[in-house]
């Protein structure tokens, strides 16, 4: 059955105008269809979509806490198995609930091989509490806990946690990075993840207009640049085979990282010093020099 014309995520939710997370959620649900149970970590998506007595969800939905979506999903899956029920179990979590505070539960879920699709919508900081740095915040980003000032002109001084590769190293059945702005690749990966048995993990980039500091209309354009500059590469890894990671999308022509940076307030300070821009560009170039051969048309 094709459910692409149906909406399982209803309008009237309270996500910010221009937030990318609902784009991801609505498409994952369209592709999964109604035989689905969603488990949601605490975060913007949970808070803004279920203010009692209203819900945006037209599929069964469970929220337990911040750090345990993967564990709760493990329990749902075990119960479904015990009941002999075949159902898509999909967990959604932000970067905090997934890569930081929820990391242990996720690691356990994937190691145990639960038949769950975990979708990380990565907006690269703790946005629900008001833009605090996370393990997924990239180098050089301003946040309210990686502030920029005289003594720290950079902002976050550590690189982004490579969560997709870390989860892949657990021998997850399917792991991919995806970007809804690169829509066909994103859609294909969601479908592939849905059609794979076992623990699956999608690391999906998700712009936050308030945290990234950009005009709401630029959400998709900026996310597209994240991949077209080479900064957020799109790849997939099956059964933990990191050596044979497949890069699934390569821009015809890489755009300079500056184009991505200059559209977002969180990076504005970097543009004052060409060395910072160069460092980021060099990091991107180094990544592609090292892994570029994994690209397969």
């Amino acid at each position: 059955m094709n459910y692409e014309n149906e909406e399982f995520f209803a309008p009237g939710h309270g996500m910010c105008a221009g937030c990318a997370a609902p784009i991801i959620v609505k498409w994952v649900l369209k592709l999964a269809g109604p035989n689905t149970i969603v488990v949601n970590a605490t975060g913007c998506l949970e808070v803004a979509t279920t203010p009692y007595p209203r819900t945006a969800w037209r599929v069964p939905w469970l929220h337990v806490a911040f750090e345990n979506a993967a564990a709760a999903a493990s329990g749902v899956e075990a119960a479904a198995k015990a009941m002999g029920e075949k159902v898509n179990i999909i967990a959604f979590g932000g970067d905090g609930g997934t890569a930081d505070i929820g990391f242990q539960a996720l690691s356990g879920m994937v190691e145990r091989g639960h038949n769950v699709l975990y979708v990380l919508y990565d907006n690269e900081a703790y946005m629900n509490t008001g833009i605090q740095r996370s393990g997924a915040t990239p180098w050089g980003a301003w946040t309210t806990t990686s502030k920029v000032g005289k003594a720290n002109p950079i902002g976050k001084m550590r690189p982004k946690k490579p969560i997709a590769r870390i989860i892949a190293a657990h021998n997850a059945a399917y792991v991919a990075t995806a970007n809804p702005a690169i829509f066909n690749d994103f859609k294909k990966k969601v479908q592939k993840a849905l059609n794979t048995e076992g623990a699956r993990f999608l690391h999906v980039l998700s712009s936050c207009t308030t945290g990234w500091r950009h005009d709401p209309s630029k959400t998709v354009e900026i996310m597209r640049l994240a991949t077209d500059t080479g900064l957020f590469p799109l790849y997939e890894i099956e059964n933990g085979d990191i050596e044979n990671m497949r890069i699934t999308y390569k821009p015809k022509q890489f755009k300079p990282v500056e184009e991505y940076l200059k559209m977002q307030g969180r990076f504005r300070h970097l543009l004052k010093n060409p060395e910072y821009v160069k460092k980021l560009q060099d990091d991107i170039d180094a990544w592609w020099a090292k892994y570029g051969h994994h690209y397969q048309k």
């Binding site: 009237g12 309270g14 609902p22 209203r54 599929v59 709401p216 209309s217 959400t219 354009e221």
Partner: protein
Amino acid sequence: MDVITRGGVITDPGNSVENKTGSWRVFKPVINYEMCIRCMICWQFCPEPAILKHEDEEIKKSTPAPKDALKRLPVVEIDYDYCKGCGICANECPVKAIDFVMEER
């Protein structure tokens, strides 16, 4: 649904439609059907979702289009009850068929 349910469950799926988030709008997207090529990109990216996709033959035919051949494709319509006016649709439209104008109330 009763005012209070046991355990705070919500048994009316998708009842968020009762929140008319169109009131959030400052700018308003307006589709210029004479230019719209019905590519569905706006529908694809709308985060609410507040862009409706009409498959009805009558609507397909009766809605203006830049070329007659396009009239076999579905028609998009903005649902102003929910559109928050983010402007992603206008920004992403490949033929600039969506104007983004100040909301007047």
